[in-house]
């Protein structure tokens, strides 16, 4: 039932005691970083509530103090870094000590174990490996749990299905949109995942999705799908996870101190009210973060859970309090896309970027009006420009866009809108 029963079912008062001890450690540790040194100089914490007197830490703070400003350990103690996508602006970089990686793996193992997967299961990881934490986080967790782990990585649906069949995969980690997309590949091969695979569990996450989509995935594959929440600033996946009740995600309060705030005023909101999730790391060494604004909107469910775990739950993520886009699981800011497109001479302001769903997967469409600055009369030059933009965006965002060259005056006039990135995905779902 439990990976670590004592901690998962800890009483509220014991949890608070534990959190206070860990918070002291975290603050002392954080003071070793250039960034927190000044901020936390006179900080005295005697109760958990005292944390409310500390300032928030934002993604911008991480960017402004790139690359080592928040590093609280000697760099030689770090064994890994993970980073957000792209190089526009400063990416957010997170460091891990060996201990951080071990604690993270244990946390992900706890999450997976909770859903019922065990050592004899065969786990196929279809998430991206690399700087993105989704792939490696689950990989380490699955190995810690003792499952046979197949690090297939993303894409190549036929190969995914081949592995699932050859090695009797029972559990997968998959983007919800890719799960739907992959089902159509099963159909093309005249296969039915219900009959032709041994799948029983899917861990879905890295992009916002509705309960309806989860149910659809469960029905198509004849499996249970569990929602996963995490962010690289905290470690990666493993921050919160669904138990077999599938009603909200237990957020591991022995690792993170949880607050919900009004994103506009910064005011702390009571349990049950929707707001922005703010997290303080309680166990991280290389890069402790205090009152980190996740920008994810959710609410806390504090009623006891039938599974017996005492850690409170958060509801599935409702959205963001900033303009961050999640494209096939990759976090991207509109500015990254804009700056990449605008670096091409002559493109100027004559462009529009659309994010939409195509065949259940996210796609970036870049529409560029062809004006004389970029037209010398030859097709080859246009084709070259098109390919250069595709390559540049691929390297910045990790997503291959579709570039469409259009005639002048064919794009709608921007009414003083600074941002030319249009997310059309929500409209389609409604």
């Amino acid at each position: 039932m439990f990976w670590e029963k004592e901690i998962e079912t800890i009483s509220s008062s014991d949890l608070k005691k534990l959190q206070l001890i860990k918070l002291h450690h975290t603050i002392e540790k954080a003071k070793k970083s250039d960034y927190y040194k000044k901020i936390l100089k006179k900080t005295k914490i005697s109760t958990l509530k005292d944390i409310e007197s500390l300032p928030f830490t934002s993604k911008q703070d991480l960017r402004d103090h790139f690359p080592y400003g928040l590093l609280a350990e000697d760099l030689t103690e770090s064994v890994r870094l993970h980073s957000s996508s792209g190089t526009t602006g400063n990416p957010t970089v997170v460091f891990h000590t060996k201990e951080d990686i071990e604690l993270w793996a244990d946390l992900v193992a706890r999450c997976m174990y909770m859903t019922g997967v065990r050592k004899h299961d065969v786990f196929q990881n279809t998430m991206g490996y690399g700087l993105f934490t989704g792939g490696l986080g689950f990989h380490y967790g699955a190995e810690k749990l003792g499952m046979l782990t197949i690090p297939v990585g993303p894409g190549n649906s036929k190969r995914q299905i081949w592995f699932m069949q050859q090695f009797s995969t029972t559990a997968v980690h998959i983007l919800p949109s890719y799960a739907i997309h992959l089902y159509s590949s099963f159909q093309e091969l005249s296969l039915d995942p219900k009959k032709d695979t041994r799948l029983k569990t899917a861990f879905i996450g890295a992009e916002p999705h509705t309960n309806a989509l989860r149910v659809q995935i469960e029905n198509l594959y004849g499996i249970k799908a569990y929602n996963s929440y995490g962010l690289s600033e905290m470690c990666g996946p493993g921050v919160a996870f669904e138990c077999p009740q599938q009603n909200g995600m237990h957020i591991w309060e022995d690792h993170f101190y949880v607050e919900i705030i009004d994103p506009k005023t910064g005011q702390i909101l009571p349990d049950g009210e929707e707001g922005e999730l703010v997290l303080t790391t309680l166990k991280r060494s290389a890069m402790p973060l205090i009152r980190y604004r996740t920008r994810d909107l959710t609410r806390i469910i504090n009623e006891p859970c039938l599974c017996g775990r005492t850690h409170r739950r958060i509801e599935r993520i409702k959205g963001r309090s900033d303009d961050m886009l999640i494209i096939n699981g990759v976090n991207i800011f509109p500015m990254q896309i804009e700056q990449t497109v605008m670096q091409f001479p002559g493109v100027g302001n004559n462009y529009r970027i659309e994010i939409l769903k195509e065949n259940h997967m996210d796609r970036i469409n870049v529409l560029i009006e062809v004006h004389e600055e970029i037209f010398n009369g030859t097709l080859s030059k246009l084709d070259q420009l098109k390919n250069q933009i595709i390559e540049a965006l691929k390297s910045e965002c990790g997503v291959t866009p579709k570039v469409k060259l259009v005639e002048p005056e064919s794009l709608p006039i921007n009414e003083g809108k600074a941002v030319r990135v249009f997310d059309m995905r929500r409209n389609e779902e409604e």
């Binding site: 004389e372 009369g377 246009l382 084709d383």
Partner: protein, 140 residues
């Protein structure tokens, strides 16, 4: 001497007709027209009697137009002659962007339209080999 007008167009029904409509309204005579497409978009190339006026009219109608100088070399209509002309370019390292030909019946010659970037080198090469370049009005 003549000009190519290249027009950027999306590859959609009715697009070409919009171009000919503008040219017809401006009383422009089209001598040659060709379409090259890359799927979703393409480039129309045309030789017209009044390129400057045509260019202006198209721009006024928000088309993206590029005007480029071309040469029309008049060569004898007999086997191997085009090859000799092209060999000349090749020897002199001249790259051809676009090239096509048409018969000039009454003279027993062929006009070879050449779009290249290597001016005036290309003209010097042609002149030194006594290849005559014709004006549009010589043939229309």
């Amino acid at each position: 001497m003549a000009d190519h007008l290249s027009i950027f167009l999306e590859n959609k029904p009715g697009k070409l007709e919009k171009v000919t409509h503008v040219l017809a309204d401006a009383n422009i005579n089209i001598h040659f027209i060709s379409v090259a497409s890359l799927g979703e978009f393409g480039v129309i190339k045309t030789i017209v009697d009044k390129p400057d006026i045509a260019h202006k009219a198209l721009k006024e109608h928000h088309f993206t137009v590029s005007q480029k100088k071309i040469l029309i070399a008049a060569i004898d209509d007999r086997p191997g002659n085009l090859h000799e002309l092209l060999a000349l370019f090749s020897e002199n390292d001249i790259n051809i962007e676009d090239c096509y030909g048409f018969p000039i019946k009454e003279q027993g010659k062929v006009g070879i339209v050449i779009e290249a970037d290597a001016y005036p080198k290309i003209e010097t090469v042609l002149a030194s080999h006594h290849i005559h370049c014709i004006d549009l009005n010589e043939i229309t």
